[in-house]
């Protein structure tokens, strides 16, 4: 040990060599990538799986709101008088028989007459309305000294098919157009006419095309089949018919009758709808009590809500940030005076502001403008309080003093030096402000305090309040908007919490 040290002290000169002679030495550049504040936050955010999933779901919902109103097969304004409160229906899925998207409506205690009626529609139009027999019950009653057993069925019918055939009156031209369309597509719209006289004078039920008794019960032949009673009376025929004929027609059936300058015919409503609109009546999420297609309406309503919420948060953020910055930076008397004003604004309940603004401003700046003002009036306070707190925290730190010593102006100090430190907090609160704006907007439209339907087409709140009245008969009209809305709010809150944890790791898990 001793010897070695001595050796080290006497190392011969030639053993030394220059490590570097030619170039000046610089600091070595880092091989690793530098990681800024945001990249750091992103890494922490990605670790929070539920927030990441929430972010993806939000992206999907936003995409829905943007794309669906454009690509929806049936637009919201295209309302049909017959298909009101119809359940969701997609034909391809309905035919699989999975019990979803089959447009099914449940009917309680249907007797034999009604069952035959449904069967008749199925046989004539080819669209069997019966989806499923859910249950059968027997009732024994004594009739003229004999026990008579009657069966009652609980069953569901396809709401799109069970309309069956309806009477419609056409001009001669229109009638010919339908025939041309039939020839072209091979889809039968017009069905042979049935004279009321041959079905016991029943003239308000176009779905009966077979022999019936006076009560409308089908009189079956001995094999249990219907006996068709289509009219062959050429004397009353309205317009010549030279298109697809139904099976079993030898060319003698008439397809329309004269009605003072026009013709009346029996048309299969499902196919007639296809003829009129150019697409089949497939309401993917059903329709509401106004006949609006929910699939499209949810997108339209959500689109407004999202744009409105983003606009409101952007405005509130700007006002709040500037206000809070001034408050926090100058402090003292300025802070106190501005604080009193903020107190005043936050003291007025949101519902009161909205109503007063609607009553006073709506005529001048429009409903939406007044609505926006109401949100801005109360919304910026939270943001300004946040920014003020951040300013109090940072304004007496060394870097600020340094900048001030170098002669930075107040404006520069506020927005170049202190403000960037508050950005994390601001982004986080923005993500939590958006769902709260959406919620209050929906509440206001739901309550009918603000009516934005003229401007935005629809809103989730309007859809929900329309559905509320017909909740028991068509729960789907309430269900789908609710699901979309609840999902949106849950995901926004999860996403916001994830952002907050990512930007302020010290408060992880503490929720306020």
């Amino acid at each position: 040990m001793e010897k070695k040290t001595q050796d080290l002290e006497r190392i011969p000169k030639e053993k030394f060599e220059f490590a570097q002679l030619d170039e000046a030495i610089h600091d070595k550049k880092f091989d690793t990538k530098t990681r800024g504040f945001f990249a750091d936050a992103m890494i922490r955010f990605r670790k929070n799986q539920s927030s990441v999933i929430a972010a993806y779901i939000i992206a999907l919902l936003v995409l829905y709101a943007i794309i669906v109103p454009i690509i929806a097969p049936i637009k919201m304004d295209n309302k049909d008088k017959v298909f009101i409160n119809t359940p969701p229906f997609i034909r391809a899925i309905a035919e699989k028989g999975w019990g979803i998207f089959d447009g099914a409506v449940v009917h309680e205690s249907q007797n034999e007459t009604q069952m035959n009626y449904w069967r008749g529609i199925g046989i004539e139009t080819g669209y069997d309305p019966v989806v499923e027999i859910l249950g059968t019950s027997e009732t024994v009653s004594r009739y003229r000294g004999k026990d008579k057993i009657s069966y009652f069925y609980k069953m569901s019918t396809n709401r799109y098919y069970d309309t069956g055939v309806v009477y419609r009156v056409f001009s001669y031209n229109e009638f010919q157009n339908i025939q041309d369309w039939q020839n072209e597509t091979g889809i039968q719209v017009i069905y042979p006419y049935v004279e009321p006289e041959s079905i016991n004078g029943i003239n308000d039920n176009p779905n009966i095309w077979y022999e019936v008794d006076s009560k409308g019960a089908a009189q079956l032949d001995k094999d249990g089949n219907f006996v068709p009673v289509y009219s062959t009376n050429a004397a009353i025929e309205g317009a010549p018919y030279n298109s697809i004929r139904i099976a079993g027609d030898d060319g003698s059936y008439i397809y329309s009758v004269r009605k003072s300058g026009s013709v009346q015919a029996r048309v299969c409503y499902y196919n007639y709808y296809t003829y009129v609109n150019g697409y089949e009546p497939m309401y993917i999420l059903g329709t509401n009590s106004m006949g609006e297609d929910l699939f499209c309406a949810i997108g339209v309503g959500a689109r407004f809500s999202l744009i409105f919420a983003i606009l409101v948060s952007a405005i509130n953020l700007t006002i709040g940030a500037i206000y809070g910055a001034i408050q926090g930076y100058y402090g003292g008397a300025v802070d106190m005076v501005l604080d009193r004003f903020a107190d005043l604004c936050s003291g007025i309940p949101m519902i009161v502001v909205t109503v007063l603004f609607q009553l006073h401003l709506a005529a001048k700046v429009g409903t939406i403008g007044a609505f926006l003002f109401a949100f801005v009036m109360t919304g910026w306070i939270g943001m300004s309080a946040l920014v003020r707190k951040q300013f109090y925290r940072f304004k007496s730190q060394e870097f600020v003093y340094a900048a001030r010593t170098l002669g930075a102006s107040d404006k520069r100090l506020m927005f170049k030096h202190i403000f960037p430190n508050a950005i994390g907090t601001i982004i986080t609160s923005c993500a939590l402000v958006i769902p709260s704006v959406i919620l209050s907007e929906t509440t206001m439209t739901y309550l009918g305090i603000v009516n934005i339907s003229d401007f935005a087409g629809s809103s989730i709140g309007t859809l929900l309040s329309k559905a509320q009245s017909a909740m028991t008969t068509s729960p789907h009209a309430m269900l789908y908007p609710s699901i979309y809305f609840a999902l949106l709010l849950i995901c926004f809150n999860l996403f916001g919490n994830g952002l907050r944890d990512a930007f302020n790791p010290t408060t992880r898990g503490v929720e306020d």
């Binding site: 107190d343 519902i351 509440t443 509320q468 609840a486 929720e511």
Partner: protein, 317 residues
């Protein structure tokens, strides 16, 4: 502390005064409701309007308005909805329904919320905690009309457990009334329960990890003793004020729930007064809502100081 409370209350009164004045002027600027000709009530209302100074400057009108309230408790007469009736009488008749429904909901929420919160905090990071936290998250986010729909459709319609709407009548404490209130109470409670759970859990987890808990354990207290005697007390410092705040808030009620379940309460009255343009009624309700909102925030702030003397309110930052 007392000085701080007085200061806050005075400031609140000032805020309330200014807000009332602004809203009062804004409402008086609106066109008056047309009165049906020949109705004997119309003459009464016209006379009352004259007395309230409807054709005088707004400042004078406001003075008369305040004077009537403080000397006679007179808020004016309803001129559309409850034709010719005293606004304050109608309002008082609507209060019980709102208060009772909200009271039930809070009485239901406090124990459930706090127990769930404690459970989650004690079993932190176990599956119990995760389940409760997730449910809390979901319950807080989902708005009350979605609960109302689920409860009305499944419990009232499909299962037939409850009536659809709240029973009419004023027998507030009868069993039938209680049952008919339950759907509304349940839909109101979900959010409140979730709120209490979240506060309790957040506070308790923080308290449980603090050093005095370790000291308590080293002194020989069992975990239960330490939690109940030391942790709970400290956790309540935050939970209690929020309970007080909720209690003040019960009077304002929920507009949505009252509309859905047709509760004859203040929220319903407010909506009707807007839709019917009954401005005297509207004025009173605006003042009422503002007062409740301000009072709730003040009660929360002041009760912090009274519950925990360590918190020195109003001290300079």
């Amino acid at each position: 502390m007392g000085k701080y409370a007085v200061k806050r209350i005075l400031l609140m009164l000032m805020t309330l005064f200014i807000i009332t004045f602004m809203c009062f002027v804004l409402i008086r600027m609106l066109p008056l409701a047309n009165l049906p000709l020949g109705d004997p009530h119309s003459d009464v209302i016209l006379a009352r309007r004259e007395a309230a100074g409807y054709n005088k400057p707004y400042l004078v009108q406001f003075g008369i308005f305040l004077k009537n309230i403080f000397t006679k408790g007179d808020w004016g007469v309803s001129d559309v909805l409850y034709f010719g009736q005293e606004v304050s009488a109608v309002f008082v008749s609507k209060l019980p329904a709102t208060i009772i429904v909200n009271l039930y909901s809070i009485l239901l929420s406090i124990p459930i919320g706090i127990i769930l919160g404690i459970l989650a905090a004690i079993k932190k990071n176990s599956w119990i905690d995760h389940t409760i936290s997730t449910l809390t998250m979901v319950c807080i986010s989902v708005p009350s009309f979605v609960y109302a729909f689920v409860i009305q459709y499944f419990l009232s319609y499909k299962l037939g457990l409850f009536p659809f709407l709240m029973k009419a009548g004023t027998d507030w404490f009868s069993w039938k009334m209680f049952v008919s209130m339950l759907p509304a109470v349940l839909s109101l409670s979900m959010g409140v329960i979730a709120g209490f759970t979240r506060t309790t859990r957040a506070e308790l987890t923080e308290v449980l990890t603090s050093e005095f808990m370790l000291l308590a354990r080293t002194k020989g207290l069992t975990k239960t003793q330490a939690t109940v005697r030391h942790a709970m007390k400290n956790c309540m410092v935050v939970v209690l004020p929020s309970i007080f705040g909720e209690f003040v808030g019960i009077m304002s009620g929920s507009l949505i729930i009252e509309k859905i379940f047709s509760i004859p309460g203040v929220g319903q009255l407010y909506l009707n007064s807007i839709n019917g343009r009954d401005y005297p009624m509207f004025t009173m309700l605006v003042v009422f809502y503002t007062t409740v909102g301000l009072a709730a925030s003040i009660v929360v702030d002041i009760s912090y100081g009274f519950i925990d003397p360590r918190i020195r309110m109003g001290s300079k930052k």
